[in-house]
């Protein structure tokens, strides 16, 4: 009953948020309703748009799964963007370095493992500060995002600079050899192995939360640290493990993006929402109330809005930043869903 009310409320809030944000279109001389219709048409309406939306889900889905693990325990890893960048740096380096000396399967596996470790490592200092000194992890994880962006910028204009420029006037690393790239499953689209992997992670997350002790304990912590401790949960250890998984998965998202989509390290513009998967992952996870199936749907929805907004920018010269505001409004309404959930179910120990 409560569950149904929550889902209905959430759906209602999302509709309100999308309608409210469509008012922004009128700033550019397009009636809100027309704008809304074209947004969905450009995002989902044609086979090509649909394919890019599905392909674009991959980094969002992986990222949202990674963020949801600590979010369940109310540990807020806002640094997914930085962990994503570190994961893409590490995996590109591995790919370029070992391409000639090892078989492709080994290189890809090595890139996967090292991007996981790199992303997890990037989160270690902030999370230890949170757990042992109570320092707000939102601030520190966010600061690490900026550091990663400048690190990337230095690498692709310095030590990792590519000989041939991919895009004119834009620095980048050397491209990965084509045989290392994930094969596309649907010819002519970017739907490939990355999507399979992302869906696999969502299923793994479902099992983690539903059937493992760690998942159960994280949910207890999320409902109240004091009560969880009273119930015998090793709060610090669980928070640390959840965070390492989170940073690691965010790093892997960076690897999948390199090996599955771009094939090359490109500069990260901090304010560019279209490549800020670490930030967009936050509303994707929250709007779904951290539910694995919900996350798949919201990743699809968010990816569609992004694809749609690209179309709107091309067709009507509407800035892509509309998307950021839409995401914000959707996320703003997500806490209300949380509220219904947490106030009705009191933990009994």
């Amino acid at each position: 009953m409560v569950e149904t009310a929550r889902v209905l409320a959430l759906v209602g809030f999302v509709i309100v948020a999308v309608f409210a944000s469509s008012l922004l279109f009128s700033l550019f001389g397009i009636p809100p309703l027309t704008g809304l219709v074209s947004l969905f048409k450009f995002g989902f309406g044609t086979p090509g748009a649909f394919a890019s939306t599905v392909g674009g889900m991959v980094p969002l889905l992986i990222m949202a799964v990674g963020l949801s693990v600590p979010f369940t325990a109310r540990v807020w890893n806002i640094g997914g963007q930085g962990q994503f960048v570190i994961g893409s740096i590490v995996s590109t380096w591995v790919g370029l370095e070992f391409a000639k000396s090892a078989p492709p399967g080994v290189v890809i596996l090595l890139a996967l493992v090292s991007s996981f470790l790199g992303g997890a490592m990037w989160l270690v200092p902030p999370i230890l500060m949170r757990i042992y000194r109570g320092i707000n992890e939102v601030i520190t994880t966010l600061m690490m995002n900026f550091v990663s962006v400048f690190l990337l910028d230095w690498l692709i204009t310095g030590p990792m600079e590519g000989r041939q420029a991919i895009a004119l006037n834009e620095p980048s690393s050397a491209p990965l050899p084509g045989y290392l790239m994930f094969p596309s499953l649907v010819p002519g689209t970017n739907i490939g192995l990355g999507l399979v992997f992302a869906l696999f992670l969502a299923v793994a997350f479902f099992f983690l939360m539903k059937y493992t002790r760690l998942g159960y304990e994280l949910r207890l912590i999320g409902q109240g640290v004091g009560a969880a401790r009273y119930a015998g949960v090793a709060v610090e250890r669980d928070m640390l493990i959840a965070s390492l998984i989170s940073g690691g998965i965010a790093g892997v998202a960076g690897m999948v993006q390199i090996f599955g989509a771009t094939g090359v390290l490109l500069p990260q513009v901090f304010s560019d929402i279209t490549t800020s998967y670490g930030y967009v992952g936050i509303p994707v996870a929250l709007i779904a109330s951290l539910n694995p199936i919900g996350i798949i749907l919201s990743a699809f929805f968010f990816s569609g809005i992004l694809t749609g907004a690209y179309g709107m920018e091309l067709a009507y010269d509407i800035p892509i930043d509309v998307v950021t505001a839409v995401y914000g409004m959707v996320m703003f309404l997500a806490p209300l869903g949380f509220h219904i959930r947490f106030s009705k179910r009191k933990l009994r120990v």
Binding site: I139, M143, W154, S271, A325, P335, F338
Partner: protein
């Protein structure tokens, strides 16, 4: 050094009052961004500095009101709501800029703020320009943080507000309405963050570009931790931050062989290191970020 520090000082002043009442608003970053565009736009079209700061403050207050409704009345998680506010401010400021100035080929700029010029006093070497050569908004922001110190620690209302942040139940038993105090504090926080954002475009950059604040709002929150929720200690933190920022800019021009990215990343790393070294586990308002339910 001071111009760099002032936007942070303004935002930190508001956030400090906010947090003292028990409300954590991580949306300061987004509110500052709204302040940058509203302040810039108003100054550009009206030429009135007073209106520019006022409108930026009011816009900030409105955005903070959203956070207040979610976190006080609806008792939503304040981290989630604050992050949402950040996204809304981030997106809206970019959209607003394109809608308002999109047809300009060259980014428009506004004239710099007039600086105070006093006979004799301003011409005293070094301290003259620092003490007597600032713009009016700078004096306003500095006055606000000093007044905030007085308000929080030397008035009954300030004591009530801090009690709300420590223990809203006790406050209510004393006859203080925690909900009302928290709303007022959150809206004041939004007003000051808006002012801080406006100062950034009007006095520091003179123009607007995307995501202009680049984490300044979060740095303001971090410096409150450094200041242990005391306005004057926070002020010192902001000033030192501004000074070191300028120092690094100066050093950078002398060491061109070191890639600029290392200079650019230090302010963010420094915040992490400072927090690790200084912030204590306890010290903040006891009920910070905890929703209050009447009579529960």
């Amino acid at each position: 050094m001071l111009p760099r520090a002032l936007p942070i000082i303004a935002a930190a002043t508001g956030e400090l009052v906010d947090q003292s009442a028990g409300i954590l608003n991580l949306g300061v970053e987004g509110i500052m961004l709204i302040g940058t565009i509203v302040g810039f736009f108003t100054d550009f079209y009206t030429g009135s500095l007073l209106l520019a700061f006022l409108f930026a403050g009011v816009a900030g207050t409105l955005l903070a009101l959203l956070h207040a409704v979610a976190s006080i009345s609806l008792r939503a998680d304040q981290v989630v709501s604050g992050t949402a506010i950040w996204f809304i401010g981030w997106g809206l400021s970019g959209v607003a800029y394109r809608a308002l100035f999109g047809n300009y080929l060259v980014p428009p700029t506004i004239a710099a703020l007039p600086h105070l010029q006093l006979p004799v006093l301003t011409s005293i070497p070094i301290i003259g320009p620092i003490l007597f050569g600032q713009d009016p908004a700078a004096y306003f922001i500095l006055l606000m943080i000093v007044l905030t110190h007085y308000f929080l620690f030397h008035t009954q209302t300030g004591l009530n507000l801090r009690t709300v942040g420590e223990d809203p139940r006790t406050a209510e038993e004393m006859g203080v309405n925690p909900i009302r105090y928290r709303y007022a504090a959150t809206m004041f926080g939004g007003f000051m963050a808006g002012i801080g954002g406006a100062y950034l475009t009007i006095a520091v950059t003179g123009t607007f570009y995307y995501d202009l604040t680049a984490g300044l709002g979060f740095i303001a929150v971090a410096l409150i931790y450094f200041g242990k929720w005391k306005p004057l200690r926070t002020l010192v933190g902001c000033l030192v931050y501004g000074a070191v920022y300028v120092l690094f800019l100066t050093i950078q021009t002398h060491f061109l062989m070191i890639p600029y990215q290392f200079f650019a990343m230090w302010p963010y790393l420094a915040i992490v290191v400072i927090l690790a070294a200084v912030a204590a586990k306890s010290g903040g308002p006891a009920s910070l970020a905890k929703p209050y339910e009447k009579g529960a």
